[in-house]
Protein backbone atom coordinates (compact mmCIF):
# COMPACT_ATOMS: atom_id res chain seq x y z
CA UNK A 1 0.00 0.00 0.00
CA UNK A 2 1.31 3.47 -0.86
CA UNK A 3 2.62 5.35 2.15
CA UNK A 4 0.53 8.40 3.08
CA UNK A 5 2.93 11.32 3.05
CA UNK A 6 0.32 14.08 3.01
CA UNK A 7 0.75 14.97 6.71
CA UNK A 8 4.21 16.22 6.09
CA UNK A 9 4.35 19.81 4.89
CA UNK A 10 7.12 19.22 2.37
CA UNK A 11 5.37 16.15 1.09
CA UNK A 12 2.09 18.01 0.71
CA UNK A 13 3.76 20.81 -1.21
CA UNK A 14 5.75 18.34 -3.31
CA UNK A 15 2.56 16.62 -4.40
CA UNK A 16 0.73 19.87 -5.08
CA UNK A 17 3.59 21.67 -6.85
CA UNK A 18 4.60 18.65 -8.92
CA UNK A 19 1.07 18.45 -10.29
CA UNK A 20 0.91 22.22 -10.83
CA UNK A 21 4.18 22.33 -12.81
CA UNK A 22 3.79 18.94 -14.47
CA UNK A 23 7.35 17.93 -13.60
CA UNK A 24 10.50 19.80 -12.68
CA UNK A 25 12.66 19.97 -15.79
CA UNK A 26 12.11 20.33 -19.52
CA UNK A 27 14.02 20.96 -22.70
CA UNK A 28 14.39 24.59 -23.75
CA UNK A 29 15.94 25.79 -27.03
CA UNK A 30 19.47 27.20 -27.05
CA UNK A 31 19.33 28.87 -30.44
CA UNK A 32 17.32 31.81 -31.79
CA UNK A 33 14.41 31.22 -34.13
CA UNK A 34 14.16 34.56 -35.89
CA UNK A 35 11.77 33.25 -38.51
CA UNK A 36 10.65 29.90 -39.85
CA UNK A 37 13.54 30.15 -42.33
CA UNK A 38 15.90 29.44 -39.44
CA UNK A 39 14.62 25.88 -39.40
CA UNK A 40 16.46 25.42 -42.70
CA UNK A 41 19.60 25.92 -40.61
CA UNK A 42 18.66 24.14 -37.41
CA UNK A 43 16.86 21.39 -39.27
CA UNK A 44 16.74 20.21 -42.87
CA UNK A 45 18.34 20.90 -45.29
CA UNK A 46 21.15 22.67 -43.40
CA UNK A 47 21.45 20.14 -40.64
CA UNK A 48 22.58 17.43 -43.07
CA UNK A 49 25.95 19.15 -43.35
CA UNK A 50 26.36 18.89 -39.60
CA UNK A 51 25.41 15.22 -39.69
CA UNK A 52 28.02 14.55 -42.35
CA UNK A 53 30.66 16.41 -40.34
CA UNK A 54 29.87 14.28 -37.31
CA UNK A 55 29.86 11.13 -39.45
CA UNK A 56 33.37 12.02 -40.61
CA UNK A 57 34.48 12.56 -37.01
CA UNK A 58 32.07 11.20 -34.38
CA UNK A 59 34.04 12.98 -31.64
CA UNK A 60 32.92 16.26 -33.20
CA UNK A 61 29.44 15.49 -31.84
CA UNK A 62 30.87 17.08 -28.68
CA UNK A 63 31.30 20.34 -30.66
CA UNK A 64 28.31 20.39 -33.00
CA UNK A 65 25.60 19.21 -30.62
CA UNK A 66 24.59 19.60 -27.00
CA UNK A 67 26.16 16.26 -26.18
CA UNK A 68 29.09 17.93 -24.40
CA UNK A 69 26.87 19.24 -21.62
CA UNK A 70 24.16 16.58 -21.51
CA UNK A 71 23.80 13.76 -19.03
CA UNK A 72 21.04 11.29 -18.27
CA UNK A 73 20.01 10.50 -14.71
CA UNK A 74 19.31 6.79 -15.11
CA UNK A 75 17.57 4.51 -12.63
CA UNK A 76 15.85 1.16 -12.73
CA UNK A 77 13.87 2.20 -9.67
CA UNK A 78 15.16 -0.75 -7.66
CA UNK A 79 16.20 1.18 -4.56
CA UNK A 80 14.67 4.60 -4.48
CA UNK A 81 15.50 6.75 -1.45
CA UNK A 82 14.28 4.83 1.58
CA UNK A 83 11.27 3.55 -0.34
CA UNK A 84 12.83 0.42 -1.80
CA UNK A 85 12.06 -1.15 -5.16
CA UNK A 86 9.26 1.14 -6.32
CA UNK A 87 9.86 0.73 -10.04
CA UNK A 88 10.96 3.12 -12.79
CA UNK A 89 7.84 5.29 -13.00
CA UNK A 90 7.92 5.97 -9.26
CA UNK A 91 11.56 6.89 -9.45
CA UNK A 92 10.86 9.58 -12.05
CA UNK A 93 10.06 12.40 -9.58
CA UNK A 94 13.33 11.67 -7.76
CA UNK A 95 15.36 11.59 -10.95
CA UNK A 96 13.74 14.86 -12.06
CA UNK A 97 14.79 16.40 -8.75
CA UNK A 98 18.35 15.23 -9.30
CA UNK A 99 18.31 16.64 -12.82
CA UNK A 100 17.11 19.98 -11.43
CA UNK A 101 20.02 20.12 -8.97
CA UNK A 102 22.45 19.30 -11.76
CA UNK A 103 21.00 22.15 -13.80
CA UNK A 104 20.88 24.69 -11.01
CA UNK A 105 24.13 24.01 -9.16
CA UNK A 106 26.25 22.64 -11.97
CA UNK A 107 24.89 24.17 -15.14
CA UNK A 108 24.59 20.63 -16.46
CA UNK A 109 21.85 19.81 -18.95
CA UNK A 110 20.57 16.77 -17.09
CA UNK A 111 17.36 14.91 -17.75
CA UNK A 112 15.62 12.09 -15.92
CA UNK A 113 15.64 8.67 -17.57
CA UNK A 114 14.22 5.82 -15.51
CA UNK A 115 14.24 2.61 -17.53
CA UNK A 116 12.33 -0.67 -17.36
CA UNK A 117 14.91 -3.44 -17.46
CA UNK A 118 14.76 -7.10 -16.49
CA UNK A 119 18.21 -7.52 -14.95
CA UNK A 120 21.64 -5.95 -14.63
CA UNK A 121 22.82 -7.15 -18.06
CA UNK A 122 19.80 -5.50 -19.62
CA UNK A 123 20.47 -2.28 -17.69
CA UNK A 124 24.09 -2.29 -18.83
CA UNK A 125 23.03 -2.83 -22.45
CA UNK A 126 20.46 -0.04 -22.31
CA UNK A 127 22.88 2.49 -20.81
CA UNK A 128 25.61 1.57 -23.28
CA UNK A 129 23.17 2.11 -26.14
CA UNK A 130 22.63 5.71 -24.94
CA UNK A 131 26.30 6.67 -25.27
CA UNK A 132 26.09 8.49 -28.65
CA UNK A 133 23.63 11.02 -27.20
CA UNK A 134 25.35 11.78 -23.95
CA UNK A 135 28.35 13.46 -22.38
CA UNK A 136 27.87 11.40 -19.24
CA UNK A 137 25.59 9.17 -17.19
CA UNK A 138 24.50 9.52 -13.59
CA UNK A 139 23.28 6.21 -12.23
CA UNK A 140 20.88 6.60 -9.35
CA UNK A 141 18.98 4.53 -6.82
CA UNK A 142 20.01 1.10 -8.07
CA UNK A 143 19.98 -1.68 -5.50
CA UNK A 144 23.15 -3.17 -4.02
CA UNK A 145 25.07 -5.27 -5.02
CA UNK A 146 23.73 -4.85 -8.56
CA UNK A 147 24.91 -1.23 -8.56
CA UNK A 148 28.57 -2.27 -8.14
CA UNK A 149 28.59 -4.55 -11.16
CA UNK A 150 26.69 -2.03 -13.28
CA UNK A 151 29.02 0.84 -12.39
CA UNK A 152 32.24 -1.16 -12.77
CA UNK A 153 31.18 -2.56 -16.14
CA UNK A 154 29.93 0.74 -17.54
CA UNK A 155 33.04 2.60 -16.36
CA UNK A 156 35.15 0.02 -18.14
CA UNK A 157 33.09 -0.27 -21.30
CA UNK A 158 31.91 3.29 -22.04
CA UNK A 159 33.88 6.24 -23.35
CA UNK A 160 31.92 8.83 -21.39
CA UNK A 161 31.90 9.37 -17.62
CA UNK A 162 29.57 7.11 -15.66
CA UNK A 163 28.88 8.04 -12.06
CA UNK A 164 26.84 6.34 -9.39
CA UNK A 165 26.08 8.99 -6.86
CA UNK A 166 24.99 6.62 -4.10
CA UNK A 167 28.47 5.12 -4.23
CA UNK A 168 30.95 7.70 -5.45
CA UNK A 169 29.10 10.84 -4.38
CA UNK A 170 28.64 9.80 -0.78
CA UNK A 171 32.14 8.36 -0.63
CA UNK A 172 33.63 11.53 -2.12
CA UNK A 173 31.92 13.91 0.29
CA UNK A 174 32.78 11.60 3.19
CA UNK A 175 36.41 11.72 2.13
CA UNK A 176 36.33 15.52 1.99
CA UNK A 177 34.90 15.65 5.50
CA UNK A 178 37.36 13.04 6.65
CA UNK A 179 40.33 15.00 5.33
CA UNK A 180 39.32 17.99 7.43
CA UNK A 181 38.38 15.95 10.48
CA UNK A 182 41.80 14.27 10.34
CA UNK A 183 43.46 17.67 10.02
CA UNK A 184 41.57 18.98 13.05
CA UNK A 185 42.47 15.99 15.20
CA UNK A 186 46.10 15.80 14.10
CA UNK A 187 45.86 12.53 12.18
CA UNK A 188 46.85 11.21 8.77
CA UNK A 189 44.64 8.92 6.72
CA UNK A 190 47.56 6.51 6.27
CA UNK A 191 47.83 5.90 10.02
CA UNK A 192 44.18 5.96 11.00
CA UNK A 193 42.07 3.00 12.03
CA UNK A 194 38.77 3.43 10.20
CA UNK A 195 35.59 1.52 10.96
CA UNK A 196 32.87 1.46 8.31
CA UNK A 197 29.56 0.47 9.87
CA UNK A 198 27.17 -0.73 7.17
CA UNK A 199 28.16 -2.36 3.93
CA UNK A 200 25.78 -0.90 1.39
CA UNK A 201 26.70 1.08 -1.69
CA UNK A 202 28.00 4.12 0.21
CA UNK A 203 30.36 2.34 2.58
CA UNK A 204 31.68 -0.23 0.10
CA UNK A 205 32.51 2.68 -2.19
CA UNK A 206 33.97 4.63 0.75
CA UNK A 207 36.27 1.75 1.63
CA UNK A 208 37.52 1.54 -1.94
CA UNK A 209 37.97 5.32 -2.24
CA UNK A 210 39.67 5.68 1.16
CA UNK A 211 42.18 3.00 0.16
CA UNK A 212 42.84 4.83 -3.11
CA UNK A 213 43.36 7.97 -1.02
CA UNK A 214 46.03 6.27 1.07
CA UNK A 215 44.21 4.54 3.92
CA UNK A 216 45.82 1.28 5.00
CA UNK A 217 43.48 -1.55 4.03
CA UNK A 218 44.64 -3.55 7.03
CA UNK A 219 43.48 -0.72 9.34
CA UNK A 220 39.99 -0.59 7.83
CA UNK A 221 37.24 -2.67 9.42
CA UNK A 222 33.88 -3.12 7.72
CA UNK A 223 30.97 -4.14 9.92
CA UNK A 224 27.70 -5.44 8.53
CA UNK A 225 24.67 -7.14 10.11
CA UNK A 226 26.67 -10.30 10.72
CA UNK A 227 29.65 -8.56 12.28
CA UNK A 228 33.14 -7.57 11.17
CA UNK A 229 34.17 -8.73 7.72
CA UNK A 230 37.11 -11.14 7.81
CA UNK A 231 38.25 -14.03 5.64
CA UNK A 232 37.08 -16.77 7.98
CA UNK A 233 33.54 -15.62 8.50
CA UNK A 234 30.94 -18.39 8.07
CA UNK A 235 29.31 -16.69 5.10
CA UNK A 236 32.51 -15.87 3.22
CA UNK A 237 31.95 -18.33 0.38
CA UNK A 238 28.39 -17.11 0.06
CA UNK A 239 29.72 -13.57 -0.24
CA UNK A 240 32.16 -14.62 -2.96
CA UNK A 241 29.16 -15.56 -5.07
CA UNK A 242 26.55 -13.03 -4.05
CA UNK A 243 28.56 -9.88 -3.33
CA UNK A 244 32.09 -10.01 -4.67
CA UNK A 245 32.74 -6.43 -3.56
CA UNK A 246 32.12 -7.26 0.09
CA UNK A 247 34.06 -10.47 -0.39
CA UNK A 248 36.97 -8.43 -1.72
CA UNK A 249 36.82 -6.21 1.37
CA UNK A 250 36.69 -9.28 3.61
CA UNK A 251 39.92 -10.53 2.06
CA UNK A 252 41.79 -7.23 1.98
CA UNK A 253 40.73 -5.30 5.10
CA UNK A 254 41.02 -6.08 8.82
CA UNK A 255 44.68 -7.05 8.92
CA UNK A 256 44.46 -8.17 12.54
CA UNK A 257 41.47 -10.40 11.71
CA UNK A 258 39.38 -8.90 14.48
CA UNK A 259 36.15 -10.81 14.97
CA UNK A 260 32.90 -9.78 16.61
CA UNK A 261 30.62 -6.84 16.02
CA UNK A 262 30.68 -3.05 16.17
CA UNK A 263 31.84 -2.98 19.80
CA UNK A 264 34.92 -5.03 19.02
CA UNK A 265 35.62 -3.05 15.85
CA UNK A 266 35.45 0.35 17.53
CA UNK A 267 37.90 -0.36 20.35
CA UNK A 268 40.83 1.94 19.69
CA UNK A 269 39.45 3.15 16.34
CA UNK A 270 40.09 6.70 15.14
CA UNK A 271 37.19 7.04 12.73
CA UNK A 272 33.66 5.70 12.49
CA UNK A 273 31.75 6.10 9.25
CA UNK A 274 28.23 4.82 9.89
CA UNK A 275 25.89 4.27 6.96
CA UNK A 276 24.03 1.42 8.54
CA UNK A 277 20.40 2.42 8.76
CA UNK A 278 17.95 4.48 10.72
CA UNK A 279 18.92 5.04 14.36
CA UNK A 280 19.18 6.42 16.91
CA UNK A 281 20.29 3.31 18.80
CA UNK A 282 22.48 1.52 16.28
CA UNK A 283 25.64 3.01 17.80
CA UNK A 284 25.93 3.18 21.60
CA UNK A 285 27.68 5.82 23.68
CA UNK A 286 29.94 3.25 25.27
CA UNK A 287 31.04 2.10 21.82
CA UNK A 288 32.08 5.64 20.86
CA UNK A 289 33.72 6.03 24.27
CA UNK A 290 35.90 3.01 23.48
CA UNK A 291 37.38 4.73 20.42
CA UNK A 292 40.64 6.64 20.49
CA UNK A 293 40.76 10.13 21.97
CA UNK A 294 39.41 12.88 19.72
CA UNK A 295 37.43 10.37 17.72
CA UNK A 296 35.84 11.20 14.37
CA UNK A 297 32.24 10.01 13.98
CA UNK A 298 30.13 10.31 10.82
CA UNK A 299 26.49 9.25 11.27
CA UNK A 300 24.91 9.35 7.87
CA UNK A 301 21.49 7.71 8.10
CA UNK A 302 18.52 9.95 7.34
CA UNK A 303 16.26 11.14 8.80
CA UNK A 304 17.48 9.69 12.10
CA UNK A 305 21.23 9.11 12.38
CA UNK A 306 22.65 5.91 13.83
CA UNK A 307 23.04 7.81 17.13
CA UNK A 308 22.24 11.40 18.03
CA UNK A 309 25.24 13.69 17.47
CA UNK A 310 24.97 15.11 20.98
CA UNK A 311 25.34 11.61 22.39
CA UNK A 312 28.41 11.01 20.22
CA UNK A 313 30.00 14.22 21.51
CA UNK A 314 29.07 13.37 25.09
CA UNK A 315 30.78 10.01 24.58
CA UNK A 316 34.00 11.75 23.57
CA UNK A 317 33.79 12.27 19.82
CA UNK A 318 35.67 15.38 18.71
CA UNK A 319 34.18 15.77 15.24
CA UNK A 320 30.69 14.59 14.32
CA UNK A 321 29.04 14.76 10.92
CA UNK A 322 25.58 13.61 9.85
CA UNK A 323 23.41 13.45 6.76
CA UNK A 324 21.09 16.12 8.13
CA UNK A 325 21.03 19.80 7.28
CA UNK A 326 19.91 20.85 10.78
CA UNK A 327 23.17 19.67 12.38
CA UNK A 328 26.68 20.94 11.65
CA UNK A 329 28.76 19.12 9.05
CA UNK A 330 26.19 17.73 6.68
CA UNK A 331 27.61 15.00 4.45
CA UNK A 332 25.59 16.02 1.42
CA UNK A 333 26.14 14.52 -2.04
CA UNK A 334 24.83 17.73 -3.59
CA UNK A 335 28.12 19.36 -2.60
CA UNK A 336 29.89 17.14 -5.07
CA UNK A 337 27.95 15.66 -7.97
CA UNK A 338 27.05 18.91 -9.81
CA UNK A 339 30.69 20.01 -9.67
CA UNK A 340 32.06 16.59 -10.57
CA UNK A 341 30.07 16.55 -13.78
CA UNK A 342 30.69 20.24 -14.48
CA UNK A 343 34.41 19.49 -14.46
CA UNK A 344 34.16 16.19 -16.31
CA UNK A 345 32.00 17.73 -19.04
CA UNK A 346 34.14 20.83 -19.40
CA UNK A 347 37.15 18.60 -20.02
CA UNK A 348 35.02 16.31 -22.26
CA UNK A 349 36.44 13.59 -20.06
CA UNK A 350 36.07 9.97 -21.09
CA UNK A 351 35.63 8.82 -17.50
CA UNK A 352 35.54 9.89 -13.85
CA UNK A 353 38.36 8.11 -12.06
CA UNK A 354 38.90 7.72 -8.34
CA UNK A 355 41.78 10.17 -8.71
CA UNK A 356 39.36 12.77 -10.03
CA UNK A 357 37.01 12.13 -7.09
CA UNK A 358 39.91 12.44 -4.66
CA UNK A 359 40.90 15.73 -6.33
CA UNK A 360 37.32 16.93 -5.84
CA UNK A 361 37.32 15.85 -2.19
CA UNK A 362 40.62 17.65 -1.56
CA UNK A 363 39.25 20.81 -3.17
CA UNK A 364 36.08 20.68 -1.07
CA UNK A 365 38.24 20.26 2.02
CA UNK A 366 40.60 23.07 0.99
CA UNK A 367 37.68 25.43 0.47
CA UNK A 368 36.60 24.88 4.08
CA UNK A 369 40.11 25.31 5.44
CA UNK A 370 40.43 28.59 3.57
CA UNK A 371 37.22 29.86 5.16
CA UNK A 372 38.03 28.58 8.63
CA UNK A 373 38.14 24.98 9.74
CA UNK A 374 36.40 24.17 13.03
CA UNK A 375 34.87 21.02 14.50
CA UNK A 376 31.49 22.36 13.37
CA UNK A 377 32.68 23.37 9.92
CA UNK A 378 34.46 20.52 8.15
CA UNK A 379 32.28 20.65 5.04
CA UNK A 380 30.79 23.55 3.09
CA UNK A 381 27.06 24.06 2.78
CA UNK A 382 25.12 24.24 -0.47
CA UNK A 383 24.84 28.01 -0.12
CA UNK A 384 28.59 28.41 -0.63
CA UNK A 385 28.05 28.33 -4.38
CA UNK A 386 31.60 29.44 -5.21
CA UNK A 387 32.81 25.98 -4.19
CA UNK A 388 31.17 24.34 -7.21
CA UNK A 389 33.33 25.92 -9.94
CA UNK A 390 36.41 25.42 -7.76
CA UNK A 391 35.72 21.71 -7.44
CA UNK A 392 34.79 21.48 -11.12
CA UNK A 393 38.13 23.00 -12.09
CA UNK A 394 39.98 20.54 -9.85
CA UNK A 395 38.14 17.63 -11.47
CA UNK A 396 38.75 18.86 -15.02
CA UNK A 397 42.41 19.48 -14.22
CA UNK A 398 42.74 15.94 -12.87
CA UNK A 399 41.12 14.59 -16.06
CA UNK A 400 43.73 16.42 -18.13
CA UNK A 401 46.61 15.21 -15.95
CA UNK A 402 45.36 11.62 -16.17
CA UNK A 403 44.97 11.78 -19.94
CA UNK A 404 41.20 11.32 -20.01
CA UNK A 405 40.30 14.79 -21.33
CA UNK A 406 39.25 15.43 -24.90
CA UNK A 407 39.64 19.14 -24.21
CA UNK A 408 42.75 20.39 -22.45
CA UNK A 409 42.61 23.79 -20.78
CA UNK A 410 44.49 25.24 -17.84
CA UNK A 411 42.95 25.00 -14.40
CA UNK A 412 42.22 28.73 -14.44
CA UNK A 413 40.48 28.37 -17.79
CA UNK A 414 38.42 25.49 -16.45
CA UNK A 415 37.51 27.61 -13.41
CA UNK A 416 36.35 30.46 -15.64
CA UNK A 417 34.34 28.07 -17.84
CA UNK A 418 32.68 26.43 -14.85
CA UNK A 419 31.81 29.77 -13.29
CA UNK A 420 30.23 30.95 -16.53
CA UNK A 421 28.26 27.74 -17.02
CA UNK A 422 26.90 27.73 -13.48
CA UNK A 423 26.13 31.45 -13.53
CA UNK A 424 24.37 31.11 -16.86
CA UNK A 425 22.17 28.35 -15.53
CA UNK A 426 21.20 30.36 -12.46
CA UNK A 427 20.65 33.50 -14.53
CA UNK A 428 18.44 31.56 -16.94
CA UNK A 429 16.32 30.28 -14.11
CA UNK A 430 16.12 33.72 -12.51
CA UNK A 431 15.12 35.27 -15.83
CA UNK A 432 12.48 32.63 -16.47
CA UNK A 433 11.08 33.14 -12.99
CA UNK A 434 11.13 36.95 -13.16
CA UNK A 435 9.40 36.94 -16.54
CA UNK A 436 6.71 34.61 -15.29
CA UNK A 437 7.59 31.79 -17.70
CA UNK A 438 8.25 29.80 -14.56
CA UNK A 439 5.16 30.67 -12.55
CA UNK A 440 5.07 31.19 -8.81
CA UNK A 441 3.80 28.09 -7.04
CA UNK A 442 0.11 28.00 -6.12
CA UNK A 443 -0.65 29.91 -2.90
CA UNK A 444 -2.41 27.05 -1.20
CA UNK A 445 0.48 24.73 -1.90
Amino acid sequence: MAKDLSKDEHSRKALSYSKFYGGKVGTTPKVPVRSLDDFSIWYTPGVAAVSLAVQADPESSFDYTGRWNTIAVVSDGSRVLGLGNVGPESSLPVMEGKALIYNYLGGVNAFALPVRVKDEEHLIDVVKALEPSLGGVNLEDIESPKCFEVLDRLRAEMRIPVWHDDQQGTAGVSLAGLYNALELTGRRIEDSKIVLFGSGAANVAAARLFMEAGADAKEILVVDRKGILHPERDDIDQLSVKNKWKYELALTTNGDKVTGGLSEALKGADVLIAAAGVGPDLVKKEQVASMNRRAIVFLMANPIPEMWPDDAIAAGAEVVATGRSDYPNQVNNSLLFPAIFRGALDARSRTITDTMVIAAAKELARHVRDKGLTRNHILPTMTEWEVYPQVAAAVADAAVREGHARRELTRDEFLKTAMEMIQRSRMTMDALTRSGVIAEPPEQG
Binding site: D237, S240, V241
Partner: protein
Amino acid sequence: MDRVSIRRAAKEDVAAVADLVVRLKRLNNEFDPLFNVVNDARERAERYVSDSLGAKSALLIVATQGEKVIAFLRGEIRERLFYDPHMEGHITDMYVLPEFRRKQLGHDILQQGSDALIKMGAEIIVCELPTRNDIGFQFYSKRGFRRFAETFAHVPG
Protein backbone atom coordinates in the same frame (compact mmCIF):
# COMPACT_ATOMS: atom_id res chain seq x y z
CA MET B 1 54.22 -17.00 10.03
CA ASP B 2 54.73 -20.69 9.21
CA ARG B 3 55.62 -21.69 5.68
CA VAL B 4 52.95 -23.25 3.50
CA SER B 5 53.72 -26.76 2.30
CA ILE B 6 51.89 -29.12 -0.03
CA ARG B 7 51.97 -32.88 0.48
CA ARG B 8 49.96 -36.08 0.12
CA ALA B 9 47.17 -36.26 2.69
CA ALA B 10 47.49 -38.66 5.62
CA LYS B 11 45.06 -40.21 8.09
CA GLU B 12 45.47 -37.37 10.56
CA ASP B 13 44.20 -34.92 7.93
CA VAL B 14 40.85 -36.64 7.45
CA ALA B 15 38.80 -34.48 9.81
CA ALA B 16 40.24 -31.19 8.54
CA VAL B 17 39.85 -32.17 4.90
CA ALA B 18 36.29 -33.32 5.55
CA ASP B 19 35.51 -29.83 6.88
CA LEU B 20 36.86 -28.31 3.70
CA VAL B 21 34.88 -30.76 1.57
CA VAL B 22 31.69 -29.61 3.26
CA ARG B 23 32.66 -25.96 2.72
CA LEU B 24 33.22 -26.69 -0.96
CA LYS B 25 29.86 -28.43 -1.33
CA ARG B 26 28.11 -25.53 0.44
CA LEU B 27 29.84 -23.12 -1.91
CA ASN B 28 28.53 -25.15 -4.85
CA ASN B 29 25.05 -24.80 -3.41
CA GLU B 30 25.35 -21.03 -3.84
CA PHE B 31 25.45 -21.56 -7.59
CA ASP B 32 22.52 -23.92 -8.06
CA PRO B 33 19.79 -25.51 -5.90
CA LEU B 34 20.61 -28.86 -7.50
CA PHE B 35 23.70 -28.75 -5.29
CA ASN B 36 21.57 -28.66 -2.15
CA VAL B 37 23.79 -30.12 0.58
CA VAL B 38 22.40 -33.04 2.59
CA ASN B 39 22.11 -32.84 6.40
CA ASP B 40 24.69 -35.52 7.11
CA ALA B 41 27.21 -34.06 4.69
CA ARG B 42 29.95 -33.90 7.35
CA GLU B 43 29.79 -37.67 8.07
CA ARG B 44 29.66 -38.45 4.37
CA ALA B 45 32.63 -36.18 3.76
CA GLU B 46 34.69 -38.01 6.37
CA ARG B 47 33.93 -41.38 4.72
CA TYR B 48 34.65 -39.88 1.30
CA VAL B 49 38.02 -38.59 2.42
CA SER B 50 38.94 -41.80 4.24
CA ASP B 51 37.98 -43.92 1.23
CA SER B 52 40.05 -41.68 -1.02
CA LEU B 53 43.12 -42.24 1.12
CA GLY B 54 42.84 -45.99 0.59
CA ALA B 55 41.92 -46.00 -3.11
CA LYS B 56 44.63 -46.74 -5.69
CA SER B 57 43.01 -44.62 -8.37
CA ALA B 58 42.44 -41.58 -6.12
CA LEU B 59 44.70 -38.70 -5.23
CA LEU B 60 44.34 -36.53 -2.15
CA ILE B 61 46.79 -33.74 -1.44
CA VAL B 62 46.69 -31.01 1.16
CA ALA B 63 48.33 -27.65 1.73
CA THR B 64 49.23 -26.91 5.33
CA GLN B 65 50.52 -23.99 7.31
CA GLY B 66 51.93 -25.29 10.54
CA GLU B 67 49.39 -27.83 11.73
CA LYS B 68 46.51 -26.27 9.87
CA VAL B 69 45.13 -27.73 6.64
CA ILE B 70 44.40 -24.69 4.50
CA ALA B 71 43.59 -26.27 1.13
CA PHE B 72 43.06 -29.62 -0.51
CA LEU B 73 42.73 -31.21 -3.91
CA ARG B 74 41.11 -34.55 -4.65
CA GLY B 75 41.45 -36.24 -8.02
CA GLU B 76 41.02 -39.67 -9.52
CA ILE B 77 42.10 -41.55 -12.59
CA ARG B 78 39.25 -42.39 -14.93
CA GLU B 79 39.28 -44.42 -18.13
CA ARG B 80 37.79 -42.83 -21.23
CA LEU B 81 36.62 -46.01 -22.88
CA PHE B 82 35.99 -44.69 -26.38
CA TYR B 83 38.33 -41.71 -26.56
CA ASP B 84 41.87 -40.68 -26.94
CA PRO B 85 43.46 -39.42 -24.79
CA HIS B 86 42.38 -42.55 -23.01
CA MET B 87 43.17 -41.86 -19.35
CA GLU B 88 42.03 -38.73 -17.60
CA GLY B 89 43.08 -37.22 -14.30
CA HIS B 90 39.77 -35.94 -13.00
CA ILE B 91 39.90 -33.25 -10.35
CA THR B 92 36.75 -33.86 -8.35
CA ASP B 93 37.30 -31.32 -5.58
CA MET B 94 39.57 -28.42 -4.81
CA TYR B 95 39.19 -25.81 -2.08
CA VAL B 96 41.41 -23.10 -0.63
CA LEU B 97 40.48 -21.29 2.59
CA PRO B 98 39.53 -17.69 1.75
CA GLU B 99 42.37 -16.00 3.61
CA PHE B 100 44.90 -17.99 1.59
CA ARG B 101 43.37 -17.18 -1.80
CA ARG B 102 45.15 -14.94 -4.33
CA LYS B 103 48.53 -16.03 -3.02
CA GLN B 104 49.35 -18.56 -5.72
CA LEU B 105 48.31 -21.42 -3.44
CA GLY B 106 45.49 -22.51 -5.76
CA HIS B 107 47.92 -22.44 -8.66
CA ASP B 108 50.52 -24.43 -6.75
CA ILE B 109 48.17 -27.11 -5.48
CA LEU B 110 46.64 -27.50 -8.95
CA GLN B 111 50.11 -27.82 -10.45
CA GLN B 112 51.21 -30.43 -7.95
CA GLY B 113 47.90 -32.27 -8.23
CA SER B 114 48.14 -32.34 -12.02
CA ASP B 115 51.73 -33.58 -11.88
CA ALA B 116 50.74 -36.35 -9.49
CA LEU B 117 47.79 -37.41 -11.66
CA ILE B 118 50.06 -37.54 -14.71
CA LYS B 119 52.43 -39.79 -12.79
CA MET B 120 49.44 -42.00 -12.03
CA GLY B 121 48.80 -42.35 -15.76
CA ALA B 122 46.63 -39.37 -16.69
CA GLU B 123 46.98 -38.09 -20.24
CA ILE B 124 44.64 -35.13 -19.76
CA ILE B 125 43.54 -33.22 -16.68
CA VAL B 126 39.84 -32.52 -16.33
CA CYS B 127 37.82 -30.70 -13.69
CA GLU B 128 34.13 -30.06 -13.09
CA LEU B 129 32.58 -26.81 -11.91
CA PRO B 130 29.06 -25.55 -11.31
CA THR B 131 27.98 -23.67 -14.43
CA ARG B 132 27.71 -20.33 -12.62
CA ASN B 133 31.07 -20.49 -10.87
CA ASP B 134 32.64 -17.61 -12.78
CA ILE B 135 35.60 -17.29 -10.41
CA GLY B 136 36.38 -20.98 -10.94
CA PHE B 137 36.12 -20.62 -14.72
CA GLN B 138 38.52 -17.70 -14.65
CA PHE B 139 40.93 -19.65 -12.47
CA TYR B 140 41.09 -22.66 -14.77
CA SER B 141 40.94 -20.64 -18.01
CA LYS B 142 44.01 -18.66 -16.94
CA ARG B 143 45.83 -21.96 -16.55
CA GLY B 144 45.13 -23.30 -20.02
CA PHE B 145 41.91 -25.23 -19.36
CA ARG B 146 39.01 -24.89 -21.80
CA ARG B 147 35.35 -25.94 -21.78
CA PHE B 148 34.81 -29.19 -23.59
CA ALA B 149 31.58 -30.66 -22.23
CA GLU B 150 28.39 -29.37 -20.63
CA THR B 151 26.11 -31.06 -18.11
CA PHE B 152 22.35 -30.64 -18.45
CA ALA B 153 19.87 -31.32 -15.69
CA HIS B 154 16.12 -31.86 -15.62
CA VAL B 155 14.14 -32.54 -12.49
CA PRO B 156 11.06 -34.58 -13.49
CA GLY B 157 7.64 -33.61 -12.16
